[in-house]
Amino acid sequence: MVEMLSISQLSFSYTDTENNSVMPMSFDLQAERGEILSLIGPSGSGKTSLLNLIAGFNQASDGKILLDDKEIQQFAPAQRPVSMLFQSHNLFPHLDVFTNIALGIRPSLKLSNEEQQAVGEALVTLGLEGFNKRKPGQLSGGQQQRVAIARALVRQHEILLLDEPFAALGPAMRTELIEVLKELVSRRKMIALMVSHQPTDALLASKRTAFIDNGGVTSIQETADLLNNRQRKEILNYLGPK
């Protein structure tokens, strides 16, 4: 058994209702456990669509998603071993930090002692001790994203999808959170796919980065190599000349 996420010929047609156009997409990629694979590429290239397909928010017309050789694409979003973080609106604003995290374990919020303890441990791991009664509005942007990561932790799912989760944060906070994330993914042997518009984030977070363009993965390389690669036209267009 190969311990990895493997996506092959995962197909989807994106319909742009405003322009009345259809964009066919097909993705192939692999990511290993303990790895954060960054996804970069121009707007509208299909990065978020790929995450939505893996999470089950969009239904693929063809292809496979294998986690450790087991197919997962037939499952509903709640049954997939996937947690997803967005750029914003990851938390319910009227619920406190503890409840926002606890929802990840049991939506009915009837937690056992062990489960309550798990929430407490996640708070400690993410440096959020003492914040459990606070509402999201009382937290900074970085703290809010930490709470969302804590929820992903307590869910204990193997795949973590990150859709520009740090885009709204300042450079210091981004660096700090990326370090937290790297440590967690590595320690828990998770597989993380991170969409980012900042090449520096990819460089900091990922050994490997995939370039997505026109509804497909056009290249997967060592991050530093990919960011220095101006021979490919689509990468040159996206990153600009050195």
Partner: protein, 521 residues
Amino acid sequence: MHKPGKSAYPVLAILAFMVLAPMIALLTVPGTSFIESESLAFWKSAYLRRVLIFSLWQAFLSTVLSISLALIVARAFARHGKFPYRSFILKLFGLPLVVPAVVAVFGIVSVFGSGGWIPLGRSLYGLNGILLAHIFFNLPLAVRLLLPAWQSIPKQHWKLAQQLGLNSWQQWKYLEWPALRENLPGVGVLVFMLCLTSFAVVLTLGGGPKSTTLEVAIYQSLRFDFEPSQAVVLAVLQFSLCAIVAMFSFRLQKLPEVEITSSSLQCPVDLKTLALNSIILLVAVTYVAMPILAMLVDALNGPILQVLMNPKLWRSAAFSLIIGLSAAMLSVLAAWLILQSSSDLYYIKQKRKAGYLEMVGSIVYVVPPLVIGTGLFVLIAPRFNVFDWAIPIVILVNAMMGLPFAIRSLGPTMRQNKMRYQRLCESLNLKGWDRFKTIDWPPLRKPIGLAMALVTALAMGDLGVIALFGTPETTTLPLLLYHQLSAYLMSEAAVTAAFLLGFCLLVFWLLEGLIGGGGDA
């Protein structure tokens, strides 16, 4: 430093006169004062107690039923993004806003009256009929006011709900209820206020000793019992109730804009829920469409030519049109003058003052039209023949009734124009007419067209103050229809009702198209 304009002052002065003069008259004119012994006895009467309790009870029941049903319908609507003819249904739900109350009442009688499609017999008249009519008006309004709450839920939350496996109840609890909670009290108070001051519905479907509200009792005291002192007591009581409800309303404030896109949510539903949602929507659509359809069917079977050949109909139509257009022009002008000043205040960051200024335009919610009418009646009666003043009074009161709509329609664009272009216009020395035609008018065209169309249609279909002051010589279409209904001339009434509805819709469509046509808001 930019100084706030004073354009609102004349409007405020007129509004103050229109509210204070009748109120002072109600409280002080000899022979009618509400604290005189005759009035004091009336304060303690069982009749007054019964009227007061019924007014509150019918408004409470109407609100609870309309809002509860609206929540069910709005939820089905919000979660059923691909329901066929979605935008058509949204337009249909906007129709009760322009359907004259007396026309809707006729439709409800056609459906639920004896011989109707779903006959309820005599039990239609009284509380049952009033509730059915109030639900007809307020269910679609509440649906349209509540729907934006669903659209305010971030799409990421729906994705989270899917990922966390939240069931329908948990989605309601964690996503939908928190979004609705802010708007619900405001919508509830608005519906309560509309039902508390509802006149035409109660006059036509209630009105008996058991089902009379304060508004109708005022009318009966003045026009049938000739008891101005009694009317004064009732008017003071109605004013006090409305002031209390308005205070709640102003405290709550939170009322969403009635602007709904036809986009759907990303919330997946199973087949069973989909079927249930479809049934709920079909029932709601049928309920709103049925009275209008029934009225049209009755009209087609009625003496069309005979009614259309009657000069009374055309004279009434002319009066209605004059009242509607004049009220709308006054309303839009007043709104524009108020908003000029309030936009200036917004511009210099005095938002609270600006808010208060715009709130004055909604004074009609605190002092209901019939209370103003009663005050004017009491004020004018000792000096002049009140009925000679019918048309100007009805125009002024209808203009006041339309003012909140006009302010709501023009407000956002006028504020936006001020914030975006004021500095640029000052630097280009663009002001007065030049500024209006090149900068302000293009984006204002559409909201002005909508405000003109809406206020005209509302005033044309209003059966309120005209019932107090109207005479055979100054009869409007709604009053003519009411007279036909009172005389049980049902087939003639059907044709008049269809004519009135068609006339209102035609004028609405023409004004919105002609004035608002090419503008982009």
